[in-house]
């Protein structure tokens, strides 16, 4: 019989469809896993409500539970229990390595300070960066530019 730990391990192998360097577990979108006999119940919170990756994530979770020989029940929870603070430390490192600046902590982020010096370039580490566009190629990203290394980069929005 499958255990919750095996399910968590399997979910940790599922890449985010749009930022494949991080897994669903790294993103912190899995709120709970419960196993009862062959039934696996997964509580899952979307990142942004309009994110088209949600269906892909749900299908991938169901497939991976089935691959363990169990029956998946994925429950999508539409409350505000997910924020970018749920992205794990490992997830933040992986984002940075892939050239995405991880989100700043909610507590440290006053949205009016978007042009301030709390945003760090993922390539050279400089905080001498500026906002290019609040909006980017997906709902979760903004576009910034590093004045030090002259490199544009994507910033995970803090929500």
């Amino acid at each position: 019989m499958v255990t919750a730990a095996q399910v968590w391990d399997a979910l940790a192998e599922i890449p985010d469809p749009e930022i494949p360097v991080v897994s669903l577990v790294d993103l912190g979108v899995i709120r709970d896993v419960e196993v009862e006999d062959e039934n696996v119940r997964i509580e899952f919170t979307p990142t942004f409500l309009g994110c088209p990756a949600l269906e892909v994530m749900r299908d991938a979770m169901e497939a991976s539970v089935r691959a363990l020989g169990a029956l998946p029940h994925v429950q999508v929870v539409l409350d505000d229990s997910w924020s970018t603070d749920k992205i794990t430390a490992a997830g933040r490192d992986k984002l940075r390595e892939a050239g995405f600046a991880p989100p700043t902590p909610r507590a440290a982020t006053n949205l009016l300070q978007l042009n301030g010096a709390i945003f760090r370039c993922p390539y050279c580490g400089s905080t001498d960066t500026r906002l290019e566009n609040l909006f980017g190629p997906t709902p979760c990203r903004s576009l910034r530019y590093c004045t030090s290394c002259r490199q544009p980069f994507e910033q995970f929005k803090t929500i």
């Binding site: 942004f48 409500l49 309009g50 409350d79 505000d80 949205l111 909006f135």
Partner: protein, 210 residues
């Protein structure tokens, strides 16, 4: 929260998302093209989540509520229905709508219904970025006569987004005097045209999903 009240909000977000997406590819700058496309995606995501809540109560599905109703059944505010491919009016609507939506969401976050309150809180996190964008543009255009005229023209429609008891607060925030609101019961020709386009696939192939 009752299904009709959820549908008002869901219809606003769906129709406005659709209108915002009309800038995709043709906005005055690449940044605004990306911004309005991204905002549209968020609004339609909010609409979907709200339709799902309403659908649970009504025993139907989000897609059926979004696309299978008669145009006369939509409860959207006339402000969001207008087709405004003109920048001053687009920004005036964006600013007025986001300011009104902030008041509406603040009330919903206090709702007794935990599903509604939780969803409103999640939507509000995303809407912070829309507000920031709208305020930035409002600051930039505020002394332009064309923009001021657009704000004045849309003001009675903006009041119609909110329940009567919330309108005084909107007037205070925007700095306009309260006037007679254009209410949701007024069906616009523009909504009917949009409905023709928006529901074309579902009407051609009933139950289609994509």
């Amino acid at each position: 929260m009752s299904a009709p009240a959820l549908l008002e909000l869901a219809d606003d977000e769906l129709i406005l998302g659709w209108r915002d997406s009309e800038w995709t590819g043709i906005a005055p700058s690449l940044e605004e093209d990306v911004a309005f496309s991204s905002i549209a995606q968020n609004e339609i995501g909010h609409a979907r989540a709200l339709y799902e809540l309403a659908a649970r109560e009504l025993g139907t599905t989000a897609d059926e509520l979004a696309f299978d109703r008669d145009p006369s059944e939509y409860r959207s505010a006339p402000l969001v229905e207008q087709r405004r491919l003109e920048w001053a009016h687009t920004i005036a609507r964006h600013y007025l709508y986001e300011t009104a939506d902030e008041i509406r969401l603040a009330a919903l976050k206090q709702a007794d219904d935990a599903d509604v309150a939780g969803l409103a809180a999640k939507m509000d996190r995303e809407e912070q970025y829309h507000r920031l964008h709208a305020r930035m543009w409002n600051e930039r255009l505020r002394d332009e006569p064309r923009y001021q005229e657009a704000l004045r023209e849309l003001w009675p429609l903006a009041l119609g987004v909110l329940a009567p008891e919330q309108r005084a607060e909107l007037a205070g925030r925007v700095g306009f005097e309260p006037v007679d609101a254009v209410e949701r019961d007024r069906q616009s020709e523009e909504l009917r045209e949009l409905w023709e386009e928006m529901t074309m696939v579902r009407r051609s192939v009933p139950g289609a999903t994509w």
